[in-house]
Symmetry: C2
Subunit: 435 residues, 2 copies
């Protein structure tokens, strides 16, 4: 019987989910693989003075105890964040351990360095659980779609943001209220910034686009806009337009140009991504051979994420048993195409736009705004005006544009926001899939 | 540069799609894998006297020419059917060639024999393209979901049947008319039996359930019912009930019992599978760790299928280069669980049922039918009656039952169909997901 020893650092929600998976389904995995995945040790700062895991040989407070154990083959890093995780992963790689991690933040920001070190030291770094929780997507891109040039990814990959937008859509409530409920229910953190500001989605699309396009996408160049400015009135207008607002992570490749961006996006209701609700995630991929595929499931949670982490552990274990290394390149390409691509500025990205102005309900306002849009070469697809507002209050005025660039929109909005008859800052939401 | 030589037998739609994929994206695959996939030869009976593929070293009319070529590592069998394909595959395995095939019919019926021979001869047989066209699903079950005990699969895996049902639903037309259109458009074959009678779906769910449950499911025991008896009026009633009719392939495992079946199924509109339309396929899987995942894409066509075949070719090529064999067991389990499971009779499968009777519009008919159902311990969930039919014509009378067995339904229907006031044979459609 082949036996592979695993050490897990971090016993939070995902750590516990992974431990439970490995313990509960140890026999299933053995029957499938012929390999015993031996959970040799778990380390967590919180273990001080108690040993809650009687079934592991080692429970430690310091991850280094596992990293320095010569019998452990695979270190699973599940503490998240940048500093300690990087220190542990680097030390483990230097000790010749293979790595499994769910840490998208670390990989999106420091991945290049980590993958380079791993290659140098002849170990593998796997990260299926870093995007889409239990949804098989990293391996799908690297292996199942290997025959394809992937040109587009559209993804809902943050469960918290999607949960909030789904509630706002279903219940017509405003952002702040829904966020508070989500926090009570444990679907949003006390400090929800990573999720609602789009940063987590940006980390994830950085990884997805890097392996899909075969280049290292610079996280700092990923345009990132969150959902905090979306209000009930915009969701209402979206419905009137036959659309749904989702926080989409989008990556496109066109010739030598790539664009990678995260922002609230209005999409037609008949799009499959429009019906991905609650904490679920979905990733849609376009390959030149296969066309569109869609991959859907639970994007977070201890057990779904534990499922993905365990598939990585098994993958490495199979390589250990078969004495192969880097059978599949860590980032999907044997020869990365680093130099080939140019990152498009968000200002030059073309799409339709939803614009909501709050303006005085007076003659001439609509025509003034339309005039400014025309001057900036922005073509209007449709306009909606809500009548019957309380007297003297500003009314929402909505334009849906044909395809144009953010550069043109910005220039127009700058002028419009300076108009005396316009009160609030104009709300702008990109629209995909209507042209 | 590692080079792996491939020979393709069969140059139909899928053969051409595979050849096009390998030629068009040869450089992409090389950049991703570091391996040159060399399309060394293609064989097809139709090549007699002409050589339409100048870029391959060999074009042959007889597949044996490729099988007997000592330089070819992988034989791709794409002729379909049972006899010639089996002869070619067996000969190729005996010659030490690895096999890639899209032939679900052959594998569902003769798979045990073929996989046993392959294991004996130390070669691999891969079949990603046999189910769901371009959708990654075989590898997903075998590798990505390796941590899970899979307990349920619900799948739309026949594009022709789904296209016909989608058209019937969208256009309110009857089966025969839509079939004719589908044949004109090339979405259905001249003899559509394999597709519309559910046989193709049964082949595919045999393979999916075999690798998911770790046992060899006997194709002959898979309950198979097609869509030919579905009429516009049933689709209409389904709409009234908030449901959609789909040809589902279903596999469930419960303790030591498994059930595998293909039949038209009424599912609630909010189910994701209800919105899988046209020629698209989708496979929903339930694993004990990951929960539900859904995998969606084009289930047929030369290029999507070529994408899946190429991923198999690359997978084997990676194993050849890394000198590993059976790194992942062909059927997902190192130790098949053959003896463990019992196949449940379709008579004992529990579900809700839709029943449509055509009965005289006279007092007492509804109560008589309801009485017979009650006598058979069938509990009624709701009843629909269409009024305002032309005088003297029988009217459709619909009952939706609570969960019961087919055994009980059959017993009741036998009695009801004998009633003088009931004209046509009762239409019965299983309903899933409403209890």
């Amino acid at each position: 019987m082949n036996k592979v020893n695993v050490g897990i650092i971090g016993y939070g929600v995902v750590g516990k989910g992974t431990v439970d998976t490995l313990v509960q389904n140890k026999e299933t995995i053995r029957l499938k693989t012929g390999i015993e995945i031996n959970l040799m040790g778990v380390a967590d700062l919180a273990f001080k003075g108690k040993s809650p895991l009687p079934f592991t040989q080692i429970t430690a407070t310091d991850g280094m105890e596992l990293i320095n154990n010569p019998d452990i083959h695979i270190i699973v890093e599940l503490i998240g964040g940048y500093d300690h995780s990087k220190r542990f992963i680097t030390a483990a790689i230097n000790n010749g351990k293979h790595i499994v991690t769910a840490n998208k933040a670390l990989l999106a920001v420091h991945g290049k360095e980590i993958f380079t070190l791993a290659k140098e030291k002849g170990v593998e770094v796997e990260f299926e659980a870093s995007v889409g929780g239990g949804i098989p997507i990293i391996k799908v891109i690297k292996e199942d779609l290997v025959a394809n040039n992937i040109s587009e990814i559209n993804a809902i990959i943050n469960g918290t943001a999607n949960y909030i937008l789904s509630c706002m859509t279903n219940e017509g409530q405003d952002y702040a209220l829904v966020l508070k409920d989500a926090q009570k229910l444990g679907y949003a953190e006390a400090n929800p910034s990573f999720d609602v500001d789009g940063i987590d989605s940006a980390h994830k699309i950085t990884l997805l686009s890097s392996i899909a396009f075969g280049t290292w996408v610079d996280f700092n160049k990923v345009y990132t806009e969150g959902i905090t400015r979306i209000s009930a009135v915009d969701i209402d207008f979206a419905k009137e337009l036959g659309c749904t607002i989702k926080l989409l992570a989008i990556a496109k490749k066109n010739g030598d140009e790539i664009e990678v961006r995260v922002h609230p996006t209005m999409i037609p209701n008949h799009y499959q991504l429009a019906s991905v609700n609650g904490v679920f995630n979905a990733v849609q991929i376009h390959g030149d051979i296969v066309g569109n595929t869609l991959h859907y499931g639970r994007g977070a949670g201890g057990m779904p994420t534990g499922s993905a982490i365990t598939s990585d552990i098994v993958n490495i274990a199979r390589n250990i048993v078969n004495k192969t290394i880097d059978r599949v390149p860590a980032l999907g390409f044997e020869q990365p195409l680093e130099e080939r691509y140019r990152m498009k500025s968000i200002k030059d990205v073309v799409s339709s736009f939803y614009m909501r102005f709050m303006a005085a309900d007076l003659p001439g306002v609509l025509s003034s705004i339309a005039g400014i849009l025309a001057k900036n070469n922005i073509s209007i697809r449709s306009a909606l005006q809500r009548g019957l507002q309380p007297k003297d209050e500003n009314v929402p005025l909505v334009f849906l544009t044909h395809e144009t660039t953010a550069r043109q929109i910005d220039s127009a909005v700058k002028e419009i926001d300076n108009m005396d008859l316009v009160s609030d800052k104009t709300v702008i939401i990109r629209v995909e899939g209507i042209e």
